[in-house]
Structures are given as structure tokens and as C-alpha cells.
């Protein structure tokens, strides 16, 4: 198993970063320079299916979306905790036997208790 990555292993990613940024910037500049420019007051208005636009779009929106984002942060952190365990799972089994499995069962049941709570609270109800 590859234990460690050297800093030099990441240099190709840096090259890819440069290629990607270069491509994006070059294309954005090209399309800005090539395309025609015929601006008009009506053309630059926000699109609202042809009728006169009504106010601004900086509106409050459903708090459900915000709640979903908060729950995502909570659960994603718990998922990240499982990654090191998953990678070392077989080592744990060799070193401490069944404990390597059942400690994660406890963690997962706590995860599911939290999950059950938010489901019962109706945090995931969209109807």
C-alpha cells in the first residue's frame, strides 16, 4: 500500500490547475472580444418571460433550503469521520478483533439516532 505521497506527487495537479485556469480565462476573453456588442436598455433588463420585470430578485426564499444546508454540514462531518476508519478497517480487525467493527456500529447507531430525530421532527418534509 502506498503509505505516503510526496509533495512532488502534487506538482502535476498544479500543471492541470494552470491548464484549466488558462483555458477558462482565454475562452472568456475570446468570447468577450469576438461577440457583437449591441446593448439596449430593454435588453439588459432581467428576463421575466417578456412581461415587465417586477422588483428585485434579492428575495427571501424558503428556509427549508437553509435547513438542508445546515443538516448537510452536520452529517457530512460525521461521514468524514468514517473515512479513516474504513481505510484502516482490516488493520483494526487484526489488532483488536471484533471491537474494530462494533465501535463503528455504536458510532453509526448514534448517527442514525440523530437522523431519526430530524426525520421525526419533519425537517426533511417538503410537501
Amino acid at each position: 500500500m502506498k503509505e505516503q505521497s510526496l509533495v512532488s506527487d502534487y506538482i502535476p495537479i498544479l500543471i492541470q490547475l494552470c491548464v484549466a485556469i488558462g483555458f477558462v480565462v482565454a475562452t472568456m476573453l475570446a468570447t468577450h472580444l469576438i461577440g457583437p456588442k449591441r446593448k439596449g436598455a430593454n435588453k439588459l433588463e432581467s428576463f421575466e418571460c417578456g412581461i415587465e420585470s417586477e422588483g428585485n430578485a434579492r428575495l427571501p426564499f424558503s428556509v427549508k433550503y437553509f435547513l438542508t444546508a445546515i443538516l448537510f454540514v452536520l452529517f457530512d462531518v460525521e461521514v468524514i469521520f468514517m473515512y479513516p476508519w474504513a481505510v484502516n478497517y482490516k488493520t483494526f480487525l487484526h489488532e483488536m478483533g471484533m471491537q474494530g467493527f462494533f465501535s463503528m456500529v455504536i458510532f453509526l447507531s448514534l448517527f442514525l439516532v440523530g437522523f431519526y430525530y430530524i426525520v421525526r421532527k419533519g425537517a426533511l418534509k417538503w410537501e
Binding site: 505516503q4 506538482i11 502535476p12 433588463e45 433550503y65 426533511l124
Partner: protein, 342 residues
Amino acid sequence: MSTIFFLGYKTILVTMVWGISLLIAMYATLMERKLAGFLQDRLGPDRAGPFGIFQPLMDGGKLFFKEEIIPNDSNKFLFILGPSLAMFTACMTSAVIPWGPDLNLFGHTIPLQIADINIGVLFVFGVVSLGVYGVMIGGWASNNKYSLLGAVRASSQMISYELAMGLSLIAVLMMSQSLSVKEIVQQQHGINWNVFYQPLGFLIFIICAFAETNRAPFDLPECEAELVGGYHTEYSSMKLGFYLFAEYINMFVSSAFMAAVFFGGYNFPFMDKIANGNLLAILGVAVFFAKIFFFIFVFMWVRWTLPRFRYDQLMKLGWQILIPLSVINILLTGGAIMLKNL
């Protein structure tokens, strides 16, 4: 190996991977339209060149020559940043995918992978999560109600399915004991593919991949019947092109990732019979691309077969079905590995 040689071939490899992903994304648009035509009993584009093969070039060129409209009410900087970020993240994910077995040229061993890092899987997840910002920033900066609705829908959909996606991969990592994509591929030598051990994990992963790339049946962020164009309603010229194009590149890269992690990557049955290393490498690349094309085909097949989900159904599937299912999958895998090893 000398530093200059290393930098040189890595640069060539990066450019090739970038070029190939752009080319495949371009021709995936044609393939999609041809396939849609076939499934709906019509011809699809056939005017530009024989069988319409110049259609993607024409479409791309047209987008360059279109007027670039930045609405007065929008935040100019963020408006440009949105599509740029979407394209940028789409171009970055391919860095950790091993395209084939090592090649031997001029006495050097050349791995056909841009960067073999020991956190490859996490790199993919990290970059994919950044993709949410492209959609969110673009939709919000447009200052248009349709765009805003599309953007909040898209971002809450993408983060919801990211959870199940991360969980479904944990079971694979428990078997592979490594986060390096190359390591995971090497362990699936021959026909020892992960999908035979993780059918449920694969199913969850492919559903999440559909949702992450905003493809039907999860294309609610841009459902034309309700939201005009969703988060890219206000976009025109190549900025719109970037959003559409990034979707196809993401489709290509997630097909490649699924082929690598679940379907053995460049491994194929009876590969030990081939003694010549370079021949094996070339065949491996061909096999890998065949698998990728198969998955791209599945993406399109699903899009033109299934109707769109309703938003509450989408959230219910993501949170209340896929997440518990992937937890059960982890427990089953853990139990099976424990029984085998103790």
C-alpha cells in the same frame, strides 16, 4: 528520472487528458441528440457534414459569436465567476484517474495517470463539492427570480446527494484499504471487480452521480417547464456554453470514476495472457474508454427514458432512502469482512 522529463511528460499527459475530455464532451452532445432522436423515432441532427458530425463544432463556434449579455441588475464579477468556476472544477477532477497500465517508452516507466496521490478519492470529492459554487454563484449573481430558484434548488440537491455518495463509497474503501484510485483499480485485477462485491453501493453511487451532474431524472435546477432555464436563464454566449459544457465533462469524468472504482478501470478478463507490457497498456486504455462510453450511454438512456422527479420526491429519495440504505451497506460489508477475517 530527471525532473525535466517528469515535468515534460506530465504536461503532455495533462494536455492530452484535457483535450480528450473536451473532445468527448463535445461529441457527447451529438451522441445525446442522436440517441434522443433514436429513442423518439426521429433522425436527430444530420445536416452539418455526414451524419451531422460537424454539429458540435458548429454549435461551439456559434456560441463564440453570440452577443455577451450581462444584465444591469446583476453582480458583474460574480456573474462571470459562476460559469468560470463550473468549467474550472469540471476540468480539475480528471487528475487522479488512472487511464491505463504503465507504459514503457525509451527505457522509462510512464504511468498513465496525472497524479497518483494517496488521497485520490478525497480529491475527487473535494473538487466535486466546489462545483456547487459555480451553480450557486451564477444563479444568485444573475439577480433573476428563475435563476435564484434554480440555484437554491441545485445547491440543496447537490449537497444532499453528496452525503449518500460519500457513504456509498465507504464500503468500497473498507475492502480496498486505500484512498488512491490507482490502488483501488489495481486490486480489481482481471475480473475481480468491486461491483460484484458492492452491487448496492454501486446502485447508490450511480443514482447520486445522476443527481450531482444535474442530469435527468434529477434535472430540476433547469426544468424548462417551471423555471425557463433555471440557474442559467440570464446567460448567453460562451458563458452559457460553459455551463452546458461543464455538465458533459462532469458526465464524462463521473463515468470514468465509476468505471475505475466499481468496474475495474483498465482491467479486463484474461489480461495476464498478454505478455507485452505496452500492448497491455494500449488494450487497457481501450477497455477503460469502452467502459466510460458505456456509462455515458447509460446516462443518456436514463435521461430520455425516465420522467423528472418532483422536488419532494427527490429530497425524500436522497435523504430518507439512499442514506439509510448506504448505512446498511456499510454494516453488511463490515460484518462480511469481519466474518472472513476472524
